[in-house]
C-alpha cells in the first residue's frame, strides 16, 4: 500500500508515531498531485511552500513531545468557497478571481487548530451553483473514474481529489446535494451534517438557509474524524447550534458498534425514478442491512416530489440577495471602462458572472419581487414545511431513511450543460435533506455497467450524526465498495 492510499486516520497514526513524517506525507501528496492533477484538475490553487512549512512545524512539535491536534500533519484539501487568509478565495468565479479574504472561515480555523496541513483549494461550480463542476469559470475537473465524465458538483474538485488519492480528506459544501452527489459520482464518502452543526462563518453564501459545510473521505471513519474537528457552536454564526441543545461528540467513538434493532425506511415509489443500475445497487444495499439484522420498513414521503420546485425558489431567492454585493463597487471584478456609475454595476455583473449564476439570480429576484412573493417564495416555504413534516413522520417509523444519491451515475462532460432543467432534476434525491435541515451521507455501494461508482444515501434526524455514521459504517464494514479504486490510481 502506497502512501496516497492511506486514510487520514492511518496517516495521522503513522505521523504521530513517527513512522513517517508529515513532511514526507506532504511531499508525497504533491508528488501524487504532480502525477495526476494535470488530468484530474481538482485544484484551483496549491500551497506547496506553506504546506511544507506547516508539516515541518508539526514534525518538530511531535519530535519535541508537544501535544498536537487531531489532524496533525494530515494533508487536507478545501473547497474554494471557504475564506482563507492564504491564497485567493474564488468560488470558481471570474467575479472573485482576485479576492483575498482578510479572515479565515471558522471551519478553516478549526482545521488549522487541529494541525491539519491544507494543501490546496478545490474547483467547484461557480458560487456552488451546479451539479457537475462544469460551471466553474476557472478550471475543468474530470471524474477520476472516467476522464470524459463529470465528477459531480458543486464540490466536484474535493470529491475528485479524494477519489484520485491527491489527499485523504477534503471539505466541501452542500446546499442541495453538492457534497453527497459528487461523493457518489467519484466513489468516496461524503457527509452533509445537520444545518447548524458546522459554522457557516466564512463560507461564501449561496443559499444561506440550506448551505452546510461537510467532509469527504474514502472511509466513514475519516469523515467522522473530520466532522469531529469542524463541528460545534460558533458565536459568529447565529444559526450554528448551541451545544447544550445538540451536543457534539467525538464521532469516532463507538463508530464500529452496529445500531441494535435498526429500522431502515424506504420510499419505493420515490426511488422508482432512478435508473436500473442505481435501483439494483439500492436493493443490494438493503439486503446488506437485512443481513445485519435491520428491519426494512416502507415509508410514505408524499411531498418529496415538490422538493426541486421549492428548492429552486428558496435557494435562488437567497442567492439573488447574497450575490448582490458582487457589483464591482464593493466586491469582485470591476468592468474596466464604464460609461457611468450604473454601468459599473451592470457591466461588472454581466461580464463576470457565468450563465448559471445569472440564471439563478434572475429566478430568485423574480421570486422575491413584489406581487410574486406570495405565489413563489412563500409557497415554497410552505412546501418546505410539508417536507420537514414528511421526515418527522417517517422518523417515527424508522431510524434512518435509505435512498439513492442521484438517479444516475456520472454523466458525460457536456451532456447536460445546455439543459439546466435536466441538470436540476438530477438533484431530486439530495435536495430534501437540505430543505429539512437533516444530515445525510453518501457511501459507495456499487459500480454500474460502465464501472462508474454508485452511492448509497442514508438520512437520519437532525443532530444524529453519530448514529448516521454508525449506520453508514455498518454498511461499509459489510462491503468492499469503498476499497475500489479508479483505474488511474491502480
Amino acid at each position: 500500500m502506497t502512501l496516497p492510499d492511506l486514510t487520514a486516520i492511518e496517516l495521522r497514526e503513522a505521523i504521530a508515531t513517527r513512522r513517517i513524517s508529515s513532511a514526507e506525507a506532504v511531499a508525497e501528496t504533491f508528488a501524487q498531485i504532480d502525477r495526476l492533477e494535470p488530468t484530474v484538475g481538482a485544484f484551483l490553487s496549491l500551497f506547496r511552500d506553506e504546506a511544507a512549512a506547516r508539516a515541518g512545524d508539526v514534525d518538530r512539535r511531535i519530535a519535541a513531545g508537544e501535544p498536537v491536534g487531531a489532524l496533525a500533519g494530515v494533508p487536507v484539501a478545501v473547497k474554494d468557497v471557504l475564506c482563507t487568509t492564504f491564497g485567493a478565495t474564488t468560488c470558481g468565479s471570474r467575479m472573485l478571481e482576485r479576492f483575498h479574504s482578510p479572515y479565515d472561515a471558522t471551519a478553516i480555523r478549526r482545521l488549522l487548530n487541529a494541525d491539519a496541513v491544507i494543501v490546496g483549494k478545490t474547483n467547484m461550480d461557480e458560487f456552488a451553483m451546479g451539479s457537475s463542476t462544469e460551471n466553474s469559470a476557472l478550471g475543468r475537473t474530470v471524474n477520476p473514474w472516467a476522464p470524459d465524465r463529470v465528477p459531480g458538483g458543486s464540490s466536484g474538485g474535493s470529491a475528485a481529489a479524494v477519489a484520485a488519492r491527491l489527499c485523504p480528506v477534503a471539505l466541501g459544501s452542500d446546499t442541495g446535494g453538492s457534497i453527497r452527489q459528487p461523493a457518489s459520482f467519484c466513489g468516496v464518502v461524503g457527509l452533509k451534517p445537520t444545518y447548524g452543526r458546522v459554522s457557516r462563518y466564512g463560507l461564501i453564501a449561496y443559499g444561506s438557509s440550506l448551505d452546510q459545510i461537510g467532509p469527504f473521505g474514502r472511509t466513514v471513519a475519516d469523515v467522522a474524524l473530520l466532522l469531529s474537528v469542524i463541528a460545534g457552536h460558533d458565536p459568529a454564526d447565529s444559526t450554528s447550534v448551541d451545544e447544550n441543545v445538540a451536543p457534539i461528540a467525538d464521532y469516532l467513538d463507538g463508530l464500529d458498534e452496529p445500531v441494535e434493532g435498526l429500522r431502515i425506511g424506504v420510499a419505493p415509489a420515490f426511488n422508482a425514478g432512478a435508473e436500473p443500475s442505481v435501483r439494483a445497487a439500492l436493493e443490494a444495499a438493503l439486503d446488506v442491512y437485512r443481513s445485519a439484522g435491520a428491519q426494512i420498513v416502507e415509508i410514505d414521503m408524499p411531498h418529496l416530489d415538490y422538493a426541486i420546485a421549492a428548492y429552486y425558489v428558496i435557494a435562488t431567492a437567497e442567492a439573488s440577495s447574497n450575490l448582490s454585493r458582487y457589483d464591482g463597487v464593493h466586491y469582485g471584478y470591476r468592468t474596466p471602462d464604464p460609461a457611468d456609475y450604473v454601468e459599473v454595476y451592470t457591466k461588472s455583473r454581466e461580464e463576470a458572472f457565468g450563465q448559471e449564476v445569472k440564471r439563478r439570480i434572475m429566478l430568485g429576484t423574480y421570486a422575491l419581487s413584489s406581487g410574486y412573493y406570495d405565489a413563489y417564495y412563500l409557497k415554497a416555504l410552505k412546501v418546505r414545511n410539508l417536507i420537514r413534516g414528511d421526515f418527522v413522520r417517517a422518523f417515527e417509523k424508522c431510524d434512518a431513511i435509505v435512498m439513492p444519491v442521484a438517479p444516475t451515475t456520472a454523466f458525460k462532460i457536456g451532456e447536460k450543460v445546455d439543459d439546466p432543467l435536466k441538470m436540476y432534476l438530477g438533484d431530486i434525491y439530495t435536495i430534501s435533506a437540505n430543505l429539512a435541515g437533516i444530515p445525510g451521507i453518501s457511501v459507495p455501494c456499487g459500480l454500474d455497467e460502465n464501472s462508474l461508482p454508485i452511492g448509497l444515501q442514508v438520512l437520519t434526524p437532525a443532530f444524529s450524526e453519530a448514529k448516521l455514521l454508525r449506520i453508514a459504517r455498518m454498511y461499509e464494514a459489510a462491503t468492499d465498495w469503498h476499497t475500489k479504486k479508479p483505474a488511474m490510481v491502480q
Partner: protein, 487 residues
C-alpha cells in the same frame, strides 16, 4: 382669496441612533469623527462569507424605547433584508424589520403652547442597521466611509397628527428628551444621532371644494430650528404653489426636497416617488427574536418617569412655574439631581432657584450636566435650608454654591469662611439701626413726614444698615426693626 382656509398635515419619520457599545450586528465600536473606515470589520463591511450576529443591547434599547412610546412590543419579531443597490450599502441590502416591527401603535404626548397636551400617534418603531456615507470630495471619483455602516438605528414613524410647525418641533424635542431620559440615545442632532424627516402637505378648503397638496418629504435637517422652519417654509410654498398651479395630491407625485440652512428654503431633490421594490424577505442568517414575558418585565422595570409627566408633576406638586419645570426636566440628570435634593429636605422652589440660577450654568460652563459637578444633592439641600432659616441670604447662597462647586466644601463652612452668615439677632441689629438713624436725620425726617421721598429714604436707611454689617444683616429683620422705630 379670503374665503380660503387650510390645515397643515405633518407626519414624521425619525431615525434614532442608539448609543450601544457596539454596532447592530458586529463587535465594532460605534464611531464619530474617527478616520474613515477605521471602525470596520468583515461583518459590517459585508465581506463574502461573513455573518451578522444580533446585538442584544440594541434590541433591549429598542424595546425600552417602544415601551416609553406606549407601543405594543412584538412578542415575536424577525430580521428582513431590504434590497437596493447603493455604494454606501456594503451588502446591497440593509438588515431591517419589515412586517413585524419591534414596536407598533403607540403614541407620544407633547405640550402645546397653550399648556394643553396633545397625543401624536406612532405607527411603528423598528430596528435596522445604518448605511455608510458617500463622500464626493476627491475630485472625479467618489469615496465611501463605512464607519457608520451597521450602527443601530431605531426608525420611528408617526401618524400625520401634527398640524403646525411648532407641534412638529415640540414632538421632536419631546422625543429627544425621552430618548435621553431612557439613556438609549445621545440624541445629538448635529452628530446625526437623530434625523427627522417630515412629510408635509395641506388640506385646503375653498368654496369650490377641498383639496390636498402633494406630499413633500424634507431631508437634511440638522437642528430643531431647521425642522420647524422647514415646515413653515413648506406650508407657505405649498399654499402658493397650489394657488398658482392647482396641482393636488395624486399617486406618485410625492416629492423629496432638501433643506438649505443658509437660505432657509427647501430645494427639490427628487421629483417623483420612484416605485421601489425592495424585495424584502426574512434574513436567513439571523434567528427570530421572541420577547418572553419575563424579558419584557425586566425591560419594563428599567422604565423611568417620562419627562413630560415629571414636568407636569413639578408644576402641580411643587408649585413651580411651567418654565422652571421645563428647565429642570429638560435633561434627566438635572431632574434626578433636583429630586435627590428634595429628598434630602430642600424646599422645592429654593432648590429650583439654586439649580436654575447657578448650578446649570456652572455645569454648562464645564461642558457637562449636574451629575458631572463635584456637588452632592444633599449639600444643595443643606444650602437651601440655610436660606430658608435666614442664615444666609438668597444672593449669598448663589455665591456659596459657586464656591461649593469650586472647592467641594460644605455650605456651612463656606458661609463662615466667606463671611456670608446673616445677622438676624434683633438685639445686635437694633444698636446698629439706632446708630444709622442718628447719623441720617434728613432721611428719618422724610420717612416720618411721609414725604414724596419716603419710600426712597426707607430703602436708603436699610441699605446703610446692611452696609454697616458688611452685608451680613438679614434684610427682613432689619426692615422690621426700622418699621417699628420709625412709626
Amino acid at each position: 382669496m379670503s374665503d380660503i382656509s387650510y390645515e397643515v398635515i405633518v407626519g414624521l419619520e425619525i431615525h434614532v441612533q442608539l448609543c450601544t457599545k457596539t454596532k447592530m450586528f458586529c463587535s465594532c465600536e460605534l464611531s464619530f469623527g474617527q478616520e474613515a473606515n477605521a471602525r470596520v470589520c468583515p461583518v459590517c463591511l459585508g465581506m463574502p462569507g461573513s455573518l451578522p450576529v444580533m446585538n442584544g443591547q440594541a434590541v433591549e434599547y429598542a424595546m425600552l424605547a417602544a415601551m416609553a412610546l406606549n407601543c405594543t412590543v412584538a412578542p415575536f419579531t424577525k430580521w428582513d433584508r431590504k434590497s437596493y443597490y447603493y455604494p454606501d450599502l456594503p451588502k446591497n441590502y440593509q438588515i431591517s424589520q419589515y412586517d413585524l416591527p419591534i414596536g407598533s401603535h403607540g403614541y407620544i404626548e407633547i405640550l402645546l403652547d397653550d399648556g394643553q397636551t396633545k397625543r401624536i400617534r406612532i405607527l411603528r418603531a423598528h430596528l435596522e442597521e445604518d448605511a455608510g456615507k458617500n463622500l464626493h470630495t476627491a475630485g472625479n471619483f467618489s469615496q465611501v466611509d463605512l464607519n457608520r455602516a451597521g450602527t443601530p438605528l431605531l426608525e420611528i414613524v408617526t401618524e400625520p397628527d401634527m398640524n403646525s410647525p411648532s407641534q412638529v418641533r415640540a414632538l421632536a424635542v419631546e422625543l429627544q428628551r425621552i430618548m435621553r431620559y431612557l439613556g438609549v440615545s445621545e440624541g445629538d442632532m448635529q452628530k446625526g444621532h437623530m434625523r427627522f424627516e417630515p412629510n408635509i402637505n395641506l388640506a385646503i378648503t375653498r368654496p369650490d371644494g377641498q383639496f390636498r397638496t402633494p406630499i413633500v418629504e424634507v431631508k437634511n435637517l440638522n437642528s430643531f430650528r431647521a425642522l420647524e422652519r422647514s415646515v413653515a417654509y413648506e406650508v407657505q410654498r405649498q399654499l402658493d404653489d397650489f394657488l398658482e398651479t392647482g396641482v393636488t395630491l395624486q399617486m406618485g407625485n410625492k416629492s423629496t426636497r432638501g433643506w438649505n440652512d443658509q437660505d432657509e428654503v427647501t430645494v427639490l431633490q427628487r421629483e417623483k416617488e420612484e416605485a421601489h421594490d425592495y424585495r424584502y424577505f426574512p434574513d436567513p442568517d439571523l434567528v427570530p427574536v421572541t420577547t418572553t414575558p419575563p424579558w419584557l418585565d425586566e425591560i419594563r422595570s428599567r422604565l423611568c418617569e417620562l419627562p413630560l409627566a415629571r414636568q407636569t408633576r413639578y408644576v402641580t406638586q411643587y408649585g413651580l412655574s411651567d418654565y422652571d419645570a421645563g428647565v429642570l426636566t429638560a435633561e434627566r440628570p438635572t431632574a434626578d439631581f433636583f429630586e435627590r435634593a428634595l429628598a434630602a429636605g430642600g424646599e422645592p422652589k429654593r432648590v429650583c432657584n439654586l439649580l436654575t440660577q447657578v448650578g446649570l450654568k456652572l455645569a454648562k460652563d464645564r461642558g457637562g450636566d449636574l451629575s458631572s459637578l463635584d456637588l452632592e444633592p444633599v449639600a444643595v439641600a443643606d444650602l437651601a435650608k440655610m436660606v430658608d432659616a435666614g442664615t444666609v441670604s438668597a444672593t449669598a447662597a448663589n455665591t456659596i454654591l459657586e464656591s461649593m462647586v469650586a472647592t467641594g466644601k460644605a455650605p456651612a463652612a463656606l458661609a463662615q469662611e466667606l463671611n456670608l452668615i446673616q445677622t438676624s439677632d434683633a438685639g445686635e441689629l437694633e444698636g446698629i439701626v439706632d446708630q444709622v438713624l442718628a447719623e441720617n436725620v434728613q432721611a428719618v425726617q422724610d420717612v416720618v413726614t411721609e414725604s414724596k421721598k419716603s419710600k426712597k429714604a426707607r430703602g436708603f436707611l436699610l441699605g446703610q444698615v446692611i452696609q454697616k454689617t458688611k452685608g451680613q444683616a438679614n434684610p427682613k429683620v432689619v426692615s422690621e426693626i426700622l418699621e417699628r422705630k420709625l412709626k
